[in-house]
């Protein structure tokens, strides 16, 4: 006889309330985590979407890429010695269109590479968000420090840095705008990257992201919120499952007295907990994934199935622990107390 489901059927409201709490809390966690991830995409998709690899900047740049200048002879040496290595620079800047309207962008210039856009002299490739702002292929854009004009060649998907749209330009145009001759960084994809190069400091992708001040602060805050939610929801789950089971101590005592195995009582509680958690999680996964699809264009929201699954497993484990802690009480129940407590 399946006592777990018989009880759920008979006490629908109670289990519905418990289920909706699990649902709401997990949905909230999924949404916040989607926002955290969305914001981090918005902040640094230029870097995040690169393959794994190492970034190198000058030793004396003090981990600030804008201060880094890599000596050209060293750069040449690196680019010839390591396959797919790229030298690049990233700088905030502005673009004006023909009617003088100004847009902030991040200029990115690199040596020839499959990981970055190849842009010819006088051309520019922009992040898609610029298209939504009314810029079209073939438009001409200017920059106060640049003698020539940029012609828009095309757009790229979600390529942002520091919440600004990326603008890929030719390396020579870059050098003119910022009046520099050296590039800030060298990027070498993982398989080919050397550990140590004298005079340079190496950063993994993750480490490099952490050197971007705004990125680090933002992600730390959001991740803290997500984990805070996970901990709070864990406690909520545990408390609710605990309360539900404590209410049944009298009943469990009677069942023990008539000869039910303690292990069967545990199974009842675990079955109920797993059933409720999985149903509620399935619902909030469906809704958060749905939201992922229909999230408004400007809203930075990105929730992968993988993140959702990882969080779901955390919720299940937490629910399981909560129920088990509550259940330890049951092991201790003396059938006698229940009998003498009177009507249940």
């Amino acid at each position: 006889m399946n006592l777990a489901f018989k009880e759920i059927k008979r006490n629908k409201v109670r289990f519905l309330i418990l289920g909706s709490i699990v649902f709401l809390v997990s949905l909230l966690t999924f949404i916040i985590s989607g926002l955290a991830n969305g914001l981090s995409q918005d902040n640094a998709s230029l870097i995040k979407d690169l393959p794994e690899g190492q970034f190198y900047m000058n030793d004396d740049a003090e981990e600030t890429y804008t201060l880094s200048r890599i000596d050209s002879s060293l750069q040449d040496e690196l680019l010839t010695n390591y396959k797919d290595a790229t030298a690049l620079s990233i700088q905030m800047g502005i673009l004006n269109n023909h009617n003088g309207k100004q847009q902030s962008v991040v200029f990115v210039a690199s040596t020839e590479s499959k990981n970055f856009k190849d842009v010819k002299d006088g051309e520019i490739i922009l992040d898609q968000s610029m298209e939504e702002k009314g810029i079209n292929v073939g438009d001409t854009l200017t920059n106060p420090q640049f003698s020539g004009e940029f012609t828009v060649k095309g757009f790229v998907d979600q390529t942002k840095f520091s919440h600004a749209a990326v603008a890929f330009i030719n390396i020579e145009n870059y050098k003119e705008i910022y009046r520099v001759n050296e590039m800030q960084l060298v990027f070498v994809p993982k398989d080919n990257s050397p550990q140590e190069i004298s005079g340079l400091q190496s950063f993994s992708k993750h480490e490099f992201l952490k050197t971007i001040p705004s990125f680090n602060a933002e992600q730390m805050t959001l991740n803290m919120i997500v984990w805070f939610l996970v901990v709070i929801s864990g406690m909520l789950f545990a408390i609710f499952f605990y309360m539900m089971n404590v209410q049944k101590i009298g009943l469990f005592g009677i069942l023990k007295a008539i000869g039910l195995k303690t292990s069967r009582l545990f199974t009842i509680m675990w079955t109920q907990m797993i059933f409720i958690t999985i149903t509620s999680l399935a619902l909030s996964i469906a809704i958060s994934q749905g939201f992922n699809l229909i999230a408004p264009e400007g809203m930075p929201f990105s929730l992968t199935i993988e993140t959702t699954m990882n969080l779901s497993v955390v919720f299940l484990v937490i629910g399981f622990i909560g129920t088990t802690i509550a259940s330890l009480q049951i092991k201790k129940i003396e059938p006698l107390q229940a009998i003498q407590q009177g009507e249940i």
Binding site: M1, L3, K6, E7, I258, G259, K261, E334, L336, I344
Partner: protein, 227 residues
Amino acid sequence: MSLFTLNEVKKTFTIGEVKEEILKGVNLSLREGEVTALVGASGSGKSTLLTIAAGLQSASNGQVIFEGNNLSQMEEEGIRKIRANHFGFIFQFAHLVPFLTVEEQLLLMLDVSESKLKKHEQKSEVNRILQVVGMEHRKQAYPSSLSGGEKQRVAIARAIIHKPKVLFADEPTASLDSKRSKDVMALIREITKTLNITTLVVTHDEEMLVFVDHIIKMSDGLIVQHS
């Protein structure tokens, strides 16, 4: 024949620093097919004695012998099996499972006692026992919709459906009015006779004593009178 024997059973409770001996060496044997009543003043140790005999708590000293097994030396799991297969319980309150129908309460008991009956045989057995207690018309009812007396009759049905050898009842009529109390006691007596069960009933109610074969009077942790 005596199925159940208690030898020099003692029980001491420690409350704080004070040790109090509640049972001071009880000797008792119960006979098959007979109802034995346990009477005595409140606090004299009746419930304690009954629950020790039923394996719901252990004795501090002495032997509780059921079919040659000494319960006071058995493991928890062994005692549980004996309770599930050979003992039936009726308490002051029915203590039914709130989310099961009357029929399901009894099927659960068959399940717990690992009944060998097939599904449809279990169902007809449930019907039969419900007829015995006069509750077959409420088979699909949940406990919340039954009266106190009806609940108690279902509890009796649950206590006997698995054909226990011993039936323990601690004040089974205390929550019922006089008329219903008599009905319930008559029922317990009848079942004891027809199923040849060994029954031990704790009661406060003098009126109930007409339904029993033996009366054992307790006072201050000792049996003072047999009849």
